[in-house]
């Protein structure tokens, strides 16, 4: 299958797919390394905690080779053009939430995520979306932490309400 560009002679090798093959091989190596330090408990079934990981790693290695061959033949399906900017907004929101969760509490951290995700889809007025997100998440916090006793981290806003 060609990937967007009309391929006249032989299809071009797929660099990104080679990356996948390398990732799979690295994952297999990691499992082999981890399995090698497991002490083989000598039991009469000859199959211990390391057996299955070794089987899985061997299969992953085989899949890595197969992926590399497919990548060389250009066998991967056509990919649509990806826009990095909106996806980066979403990732940024998730990172921000992760960093703020412990210090600023659930509502502020998740409110920021809410606003960043909305921004990814075109609502860029952060001075509206951030307060909106925080109020919404505060309501969610009251509902879930209060009624369902979920342990959602509390920050300054939540402490203000709890008093």
């Amino acid at each position: 299958m060609s990937r967007g560009v009309p391929s006249s002679t032989r299809p071009k090798a797929d660099k990104a797919a080679f990356g996948i093959a390398i990732f799979l091989a690295a994952l297999a190596a990691l499992i082999f390394w981890d399995a090698s330090r497991l002490t083989a408990v000598a039991n009469y079934s000859r199959i211990g905690p390391a057996t299955i990981p070794i089987v899985i790693a061997t299969c992953l290695l085989g899949l890595a080779v197969w992926t590399a061959i497919a990548a060389r033949a250009g066998d991967f399906p056509a990919r649509e053009r990806q826009q990095i900017a909106p996806a980066a907004w979403v990732v940024g929101g998730l990172v921000l939430q992760m960093l703020c969760l412990k210090t600023l509490g659930f509502s502020i951290a998740t409110g920021l995520l809410f606003a960043m995700t909305a921004a990814a889809f075109g609502k860029r007025k952060l001075y509206i979306t951030i307060p909106l997100g925080i109020v919404l998440c505060l309501a969610i916090w009251l509902l879930f932490a209060g009624l369902l006793q979920l342990s959602l981290p509390a920050g300054p806003l939540e402490h203000l309400l709890r008093r």
Partner: protein, 505 residues
């Protein structure tokens, strides 16, 4: 006791007011997520697992099953009115359903989908009640090697028998296996793949993986497609009631769809999609109005919708009787059972008949609720389709992270959520299926356990795996399910298989 008595007893359990409330919440939520594009029943159940941790097990499971059924109903609404299937199993419905809506026959299309789903759901649930005890009896003679063979078959069908690439299906499955080894080995207590990180000792949570793959991966993927302009929602014009002719053309496809969908769901063959495609092909061949196909034939909506609901009920057969999930939603429901320390399988029918039969009976009730929710109230669900995408996806991510934070409020867990979310995004970009990762993560450790038990009994002799007739037959079917599609694809006949792609739900 006979099946009837068990079912009556189950109805008494299901009629308890609290359980009715759970069922109602389940079907309402299920319909809502079925209607909304971007989220499906698998994700919803995953999100609710941590929230329901402290609730009553029976009630929560009734709610989960209600979500599964509701998702199947709701998906049809999106397909018909938006031409964007809400669930993978509603793709076929969109073919004829959306054409009907554009021709101003959206009402009858919705009605035949809802009534067909009801008929199929009812028949298939009764089928489930009568088949389950027989399979439970059969499963009692199953030893570790038979279970292992059964799981191998499930692995093959979920990952590579359908879909467009054996390579990518198997890669997804093995990624799931690799994640499954993380944590403490169940038999010897040694830590594997944890690298001294305490957060990894408990392994990767199924909910974290599912939420990351389905919610975050999907959101990133949709965001990265850029702005594609507003989608057109077809208004429901004219009467929602079906004419006498509509009824006459619908009832046979409903029954045929049920007959096609139920066995496919009940076999470890993965996915409700396959039944819908077969049903569509059947209706197209048998119809008296072939000229209407492609322009809004009511049979093309009635049959596949019935097949899709029947196979949802069918999926519960292996899940309840063998503990074997064949779809992502079923895999997460299995995690729901495990959360309460319950292991579905023949033993559960003996030790906890109240719960099992209460669950089955509540599905019958859920079906009646869904008919009411989806016929007179369909206008309400249509409004959900008009939620602008920024708010929809912002809300999805808020609730997705809420579930994870509620289960384990740690920065590490959120980091895993992000990492798996990025993985889910890249897998979508490169055309890898998502369901095998989830099934591999949850079923992998169970398969390892059965394999090691079988080999412990045989003192390490692997030939024991093939010497049981049942296991040998199952493994042969698994091998065929792996090889035949691969050969078909290599000879350029893979289009049919890729259409049958078993995917997320």
């Amino acid at each position: 006791m006979s099946t009837f008595e068990f079912l009556l007893q189950g109805l008494l359990v299901a009629m308890q007011p609290m359980n009715l409330v759970y069922a109602l919440i389940g079907v309402t939520l299920g319909t809502a997520v079925g209607v909304l594009p971007g989220i499906g029943p698998a994700l919803t159940v995953a999100l609710l697992l941590p929230v329901t941790y402290r609730l009553d097990p029976g009630g929560s499971l009734i709610m989960f099953a209600g979500i599964y059924y509701g998702g199947m109903y709701g998906g049809s609404t999106t397909s018909i009115l938006l031409n964007t299937p809400g669930e993978s199993s509603s793709i076929v419905t969109a073919l004829e359903g959306n054409k009907m809506a554009r021709a101003g026959r959206g009402g009858p299309a919705l009605a035949t989908a809802a009534i067909g789903s009801f008929v199929a759901g009812l028949i298939a649930t009764i089928g489930l009640a009568f088949i389950a005890p027989a399979i439970v009896k059969l499963a009692l003679v199953f030893g570790p090697r038979e279970y292992f063979a059964l799981m191998v078959l499930a692995f093959v069908t979920v990952s590579s028998a359908f879909g467009d690439s054996t390579l990518r299906g198997l890669t997804s499955l093995f990624l799931g296996f690799a994640l499954a080894i993380i944590g403490i080995d169940q038999l010897t207590g040694q830590t594997r793949m944890s690298f001294g990180v305490p957060d990894l000792l408990d392994g990767v949570e199924v909910t974290t993986l599912a939420v990351a793959m389905f919610a975050i991966g999907e959101t990133l993927y949709i965001a990265a497609q850029g702005d594609q302009g507003p989608e057109k929602v077809e208004a429901v014009r004219g009467s929602v009631w079906m004419t006498a002719q509509d009824w006459a053309r619908s009832w046979k496809p409903w029954l045929r769809g049920t007959v096609i969908g139920f066995p496919i769901g009940a076999m470890p063959a993965g996915g409700a999609e396959i039944g819908t495609f077969l049903s569509y092909a059947t209706e197209k061949r048998l119809t008296k109005h072939p000229e209407e196909f492609g322009h809004g034939a009511i049979e093309g909506v009635a049959g596949p919708e019935a097949a899709n609901n029947a196979s949802a009920a069918g999926t519960l057969v292996p899940l309840l009787t063998l503990g074997l999930p064949t779809t992502a939603t079923a895999a997460i429901m299995l995690a729901g059972f495990q959360q309460y320390g319950l292991q579905p399988g023949p033993l559960l029918f003996a030790t906890n008949p109240q719960l099992v039969w209460g669950l089955i009976a509540s599905l019958l009730i859920a079906n009646f609720m869904l008919l009411v929710l989806n016929l007179p109230l369909v206008g309400l669900w249509v409004k959900l389709l008009t939620i602008p995408r920024p708010w929809l996806y912002a809300g999805i991510l808020t609730f997705a992270t809420l579930g994870t934070i509620g289960a384990n409020p740690s920065v590490f867990e959120l980091g895993m959520l992000l990492a798996f979310g990025l993985m889910g995004y890249l897998m979508r970009v490169f055309g890898y299926p998502i369901a095998p990762v989830v099934v591999g993560l949850i079923l992998g450790p169970l398969a390892e356990q059965q394999l090691r038990r079988a080999l412990a009994i045989s003192q390490g002799d692997p030939s024991v795996l093939f010497t049981s007739p049942i296991a040998a037959v199952l493994l042969t079917i698994a091998a065929l399910a792996l090889i035949v599609p691969a050969v078909l694809r290599a000879r350029g006949k893979g289009q049919v298989l890729s259409q049958l792609a078993a995917s997320e739900d």
